[in-house]
């Protein structure tokens, strides 16, 4: 067996190391504005990794929604709250957390040892329903992008469920923040009556 090292594998490893470094920086930095910016960069690095791993649709969703929209939401929240993490975590808690994370990480790595290797076409994940999507979707749905035909065709109910989730979240956000506005208005009205 010749070890064939492809450029995309090297890019893959470099991007993963970048992600790990950014993750550690997010955990250590206390200035929340920097943390939010780093989480945007983290999402963008993730999007680049998806391109390397052939998931172009996922990459542009992550770049638009993960890196764009959630960063905007977080900056908005920082403007309404504070941009500094106050308390340093107590050493006892930090050690407890480190122990739990080390044990859990070790368990996960142990569980990964008999997983199929990266890039192996004989892995079970590639042999259940996916060949049908790849072979027949052009005849059945007539969209060249298989991700689109699965998302909107074969798994359309999944996407409808996703829409319900977004709808529920939107109602939740409106209820939480809309109530604040109404209460402010009534308190203003009360003030008017008093004067």
């Amino acid at each position: 067996m010749n070890i064939e090292i492809v450029t995309s594998d090297l890019l893959n490893i470099a991007t993963l190391i970048f992600l790990a470094v950014i993750g550690i920086a997010i955990a250590r930095i206390r200035n929340l504005f920097a943390v939010v910016m780093l989480s945007g960069i983290y999402s963008l690095m993730g999007a680049s990794l998806y391109v390397i791993l052939d998931a172009v649709d996922v990459a542009f969703t992550e770049a638009a929604v993960g890196a764009g929209a959630s960063t905007v939401l977080m900056i908005g929240t920082l403007a309404l709250t504070s941009s500094r993490e106050k308390a340093a975590t107590s050493p006892a808690n930090a050690i407890k957390g480190l122990i739990i994370c080390t044990l859990l990480g070790a368990a996960l790595i142990y569980g990964s040892l008999d997983m199929p290797l990266y890039g192996d076409p004989s892995a079970p994940i590639h042999h259940h329903i996916v060949p049908r999507y790849l072979n027949d979707s052009m005849a059945e749905i007539a969209v060249p992008n298989v991700v689109t035909s699965v998302l909107a065709g074969y798994r359309g109910f999944d996407t409808m469920g996703e829409t319900f989730v977004i709808f529920t979240a939107a109602i939740g956000v409106i209820t939480l923040i809309g109530r604040k506005r109404r209460r402010r208005k009534t308190s203003k009205d009360d003030g008017g009556h008093d004067s």
Partner: protein, 121 residues
């Protein structure tokens, strides 16, 4: 013959490291915005886990074209597309809760909120 032992399981191990960083931020840090950022770190690591499984060496993006034999697996891509959007919805809801907590308690540090609640009791 392609040898699959490089990078082997490296992707999954980095994913587990990222998961544990996110989990550590969520359970140890007191600031609520930081907790939500930690949740995002965890989320992205799960996405990378799925997308790494979908990759086939020598394959290309699953867009059908003439002359291409090997495509990467499109199914995890679809699942993760859904998960990204749902993830942003949960982030938005969490941040709205943080704004309300700031209004009611005047702080977004978990330990200070706990102190205030104990005093109220």
């Amino acid at each position: 013959m392609i040898d699959y032992s490089f990078p082997g399981l490296f992707n999954y191990w980095v994913v587990f490291l990222l998961m544990m960083i996110g989990f550590y931020i969520v359970i140890v840090h007191e600031n609520l915005i930081k907790k939500i950022v930690g949740l995002n770190v965890f989320q992205v690591s799960v996405f990378i886990l799925y997308i790494s499984m979908a990759k086939i060496k020598g394959g290309t993006a699953p867009i059908l074209a003439d002359g291409i034999e090997v495509y990467s697996n499109p199914l995890p891509h679809v699942l993760i597309l859904t998960a990204i959007v749902v993830g942003v919805a949960t982030t938005a809801l969490g941040l709205a809760l943080v704004v309300r907590i700031q209004e009611s308690f005047g702080t977004i540090e978990d330990n200070e909120i706990r102190d205030i609640e104990e005093r109220q009791e």
